[in-house]
């Protein structure tokens, strides 16, 4: 029993060492991240100690530990490759019983930077709220329990989702993780701003609930013990212990099933086919025939099915909504921020053929005239508009509603549509002129050696789009500054829309001959990496 535990802990250490020996780059990255983590841990330890005595310290630490636990729960979903000992199926050929195995794996999980960081944070939290000997005694137990709950939580989530994590879908999910972090950072940033202006007292209601949710309940117990309510402290500790036991049981059950049933990746692939077969026909009926409908259908399918395309779209949709709406919420917003949605979504028109990867040859084989190229590009722009047009309208209306500035709705909509048209036009043109590869693995969005090309395409295109919009912007300013401008501002909606449509048409017309003539060059450019 103990030998299993020692062996697995040693295995974890050797894996760590082996990984470090692999390359100096990896070693440097590991050491850098270790130093950074320890530095951060030391800083937050200091911060938490400084927090001692603050009236809301208990609320802060309870929330902190809850967020930490959430991080532990989400971590294995996004970084499945990060820890090889996370995959118990590698041990499936060894004669091991579930109970000792769970113990051994749990012990092995405690080795690493993550647990070290967690311990530092938990100790800091205890130091921030503990008053009196009893509280410190409870604190020691609380740190151990909370740490174990965090680790067991990560393990249970990983074991329950191992089928998903080792399959293609899991790898697709990992591509989306950067996005979750980006959007999450926006939300945290927004939350921190609110806290900065409104004070820590706002945390109390949330903390009152969370102090009964493990593993935050362990820290709740320390706080309760400090205030002398030993009954509550005991209950909260018991709750944490109970949660730990439950998690271990769930984990052991999944582990048992994983070790005794066949590898899930094939089963999973078989199961998802049934659903897909049915859902595919509905969309085709609504789309026009010929190349237009065919190319639109494929583009729209890729928005949903291709992880890279999906990540790009979700980022655009989220940021296009967050910027205008959150600014309006904070009262600092202008209604013109609503154009942000159109601008963000218009970016998706850029590097259309790069988004195809080297599969672009299938398109290239069917394009033999400028007309074909025009229809292909138009179909892609139309597919984009199917999502973008309603979304930009929705965001604009929402922003207007929050600011209550209804008279300006038509002009902002007109401006949005003009910008969208300009983005589509420049997007189509740069797609033909500056195509570049998007690597399908990992987080990179540009192949090595093509970074300059991507910058020219995106930033040059965006500047060009802004310049192309200048007439509508100037018209808006003129109407707004003139004496009886309000009576005429509605005109900007039809003018902006028509202008945007004309720009798109021109952009597609200009891009088509270049696309048709340069098919081999485009294919070479998008096939790198």
């Amino acid at each position: 029993m103990t030998s299993t535990t020692t062996t697995l802990v040693q295995l974890k250490l050797s894996l760590l060492r082996g990984g470090l020996r692999q390359s100096t780059g990896r070693r440097a990255a590991y050491i850098a991240s270790a130093v950074f983590t320890l530095l951060f841990a030391a800083l937050q330890l200091l911060g938490l100690i400084l927090l001692r005595g603050n009236a809301h310290a208990d609320a802060v630490i309870v929330l902190l530990v809850a967020v930490l636990a959430l991080g532990w729960a989400v971590m294995p979903l996004f970084f499945p490759g990060g820890d090889e000992t996370l995959d118990p199926t590698r041990l499936v050929m060894l004669p091991l019983r579930p109970q000792p195995l769970v113990r051994a794996l749990l012990a092995a999980s405690l080795v690493g930077i993550g647990p070290l960081f967690t311990v530092c944070m938990l100790i800091g939290s205890v130091l921030a709220v503990a008053h009196g000997a009893a509280a410190y005694v409870v604190g020691v137990v609380a740190v151990a329990l909370a740490l174990l709950v965090c680790v067991a939580l990560a393990r249970a989530v990983a074991a329950a989702n191992l089928r998903l994590l080792t399959s293609r879908k899991g790898r697709d999910l990992a591509v989306l993780s950067g996005l979750v972090i980006a959007v999450g950072a926006q939300l945290v940033n927004f939350g921190a701003q609110r806290l900065g202006s409104a004070g820590l007292g706002q945390l109390e209601p949330a903390a009152d609930v969370l102090r009964w949710v493990p593993p935050a309940s362990a820290l709740g117990a320390v706080d309760a013990a400090s205030e002398g309510s030993y009954g509550i402290a005991a209950a909260q500790l018991a709750l944490t212990a109970l949660a730990l036991a439950a998690l271990l049981a769930v984990w052991a059950r999944h582990l048992n099933r994983l070790m005794t049933s066949p590898d899930g990746s094939t089963l999973q692939a078989m199961a998802e086919t049934a659903v897909r077969g049915r859902s595919s026909t509905g969309m085709a009926r609504l789309l026009p025939g010929g190349r237009t409908g065919t190319a639109m259908e494929r583009s729209l399918r890729y928005v949903w099915r291709d992880p890279k395309t999906k990540a790009a779209w979700v980022t655009s949709l989220a940021i296009g909504l967050i910027v205008p709406v959150f600014n309006a919420l904070q009262g600092t917003g202008s209604i013109y921020f609503a154009c942000f949605a159109a601008g963000m979504l218009g970016i998706q028109m850029y590097n259309q053929f790069g988004q195809d990867t080297s599969a672009f040859w299938m398109v290239a084989m069917t394009i033999s005239s400028t007309r074909d190229a025009y229809v292909e590009l138009r179909a892609r722009a139309l597919a984009l508009l199917v999502i973008t047009l309603p979304y930009a309208t929705l965001v604009t209306v929402l922003t207007t509603a929050m600011l209550g500035d209804w008279p300006r709705l038509p002009e902002v909509l007109g401006l949005s549509f003009a910008l969208l048209g300009a983005m589509l036009a420049t997007g189509a043109w740069t797609s033909a002129r500056f195509p570049y590869s998007i690597p399908q693995e990992g987080y990179k969005n540009v192949a090595p050696g093509q970074v300059g090309l991507a910058w020219i395409a995106i930033f040059g295109g965006m500047v060009a789009a802004a310049l192309l919009c200048a007439p509508v912007i100037i018209l808006t300013i003129l109407i707004n500054t003139s004496a009886d401008g309000d009576a005429w501002s509605w005109l900007l909606l039809p003018v902006g829309t028509a202008y945007g449509a004309a720009l798109t048409y021109l952009g597609l017309r200009l891009a088509a001959p270049r696309t048709a003539q340069r098919l081999p060059e485009i294919l070479t450019a998008v096939s790198k990496g």
Partner: protein, 263 residues
């Protein structure tokens, strides 16, 4: 495959074809005429320039110099006529992998301008013949190598091309899938169509083709009916090794320490 019936008709006519990648010359002046209605093998070692040649012939790569005609039409000046008449299965390029096998065929067929009902009918038959019916709703990204080659072949055949270009169609394919692909290709050429495929596996070329072109270091070393190219050599493999000058390389004397016994 009557020898006399097709004299004078060339499926592909290549003249003075060159391609350089930086310093390296990939294709160094090829002149070649491929007869129509044959099962043609383009053989050569890795790096001989087979893929580069096929890419230039099918219009996927622009040559530095030279002309290519497919069934009498210039590939670069008359793409409308050429692209409708050829089917291609390239090597090392992706498919639209996030479509299911059936969706991929529906997409390709419709892009080629075939009516939807006809595309669906042909797709069903191709999927059946190629043993892909069971996996037709699975995404291509989840397909094995053999399945990918087969769905690529189906996509290349869908519009019933006159000339079919296949780059290493049997590379990494299991014996069962390989046999399926062979059967389909043999049926296709029996109807008078032309297949041009590249491979470095001589036994395969010898058993499938009736006309071969041997390539090495960017040049054509020999071409003609299989029997002619093979000449007096017992196998195409032997003939090929003599052609590229690798036959007299004797490895045994250098590695005399290798083998069982004393370490």
């Amino acid at each position: 495959m009557n020898e006399g019936a097709r004299v004078g008709t060339a499926a592909v006519r290549i003249q003075g074809l060159w391609k350089r990648f930086g310093e390296q010359v990939a294709v160094a002046g090829i002149d070649l005429e491929l007869p129509a209605g044959r099962f043609i093998g383009l053989v050569g070692p890795n790096g001989a320039g087979k893929t580069t040649t096929l890419s230039m012939v099918t219009g996927l790569l622009r040559p530095d110099q030279g002309t290519v005609e497919v069934v009498g039409h210039d590939v670069w000046r008359d793409p409308v006529e050429v692209k409708a008449r050829i089917g291609v299965l390239p090597e090392g390029l992706r498919l639209f992998e996030r479509l299911s096998g059936r969706e991929l065929l529906a997409y390709t067929g419709r892009l080629r301008g075939l009516p939807g009902a006809e595309v669906d009918k042909r797709a069903t038959q191709l999927l059946d013949v190629l043993d892909l019916a069971g996996a037709q709703h699975k995404l291509v990204v989840d397909y094995s190598t053999g399945m990918r080659k087969k769905i690529g072949l189906a996509a290349a055949l869908l519009h019933n091309p006159e000339v079919l270009f296949l780059d290493e169609p049997f590379e990494g394919v299991d014996p069962v899938s390989a046999q399926t692909i062979r059967r389909v290709l043999e049926r296709y050429t029996a109807s008078g169509a032309t297949v041009v495929f590249s491979s470095h596996v001589m036994e395969l070329v010898e058993s499938l083709c009736d006309w071969v072109a041997v390539m090495a270091a960017g040049r054509i070393r020999a071409h003609g009916p299989l029997a002619e190219v093979r000449g007096d050599a017992p196998t195409l493999q032997q003939a090929f090794l003599e052609l590229v000058g690798a036959h007299d390389r004797d490895a045994a004397s250098d590695l005399d320490w290798l083998g069982g016994g004393v370490r």
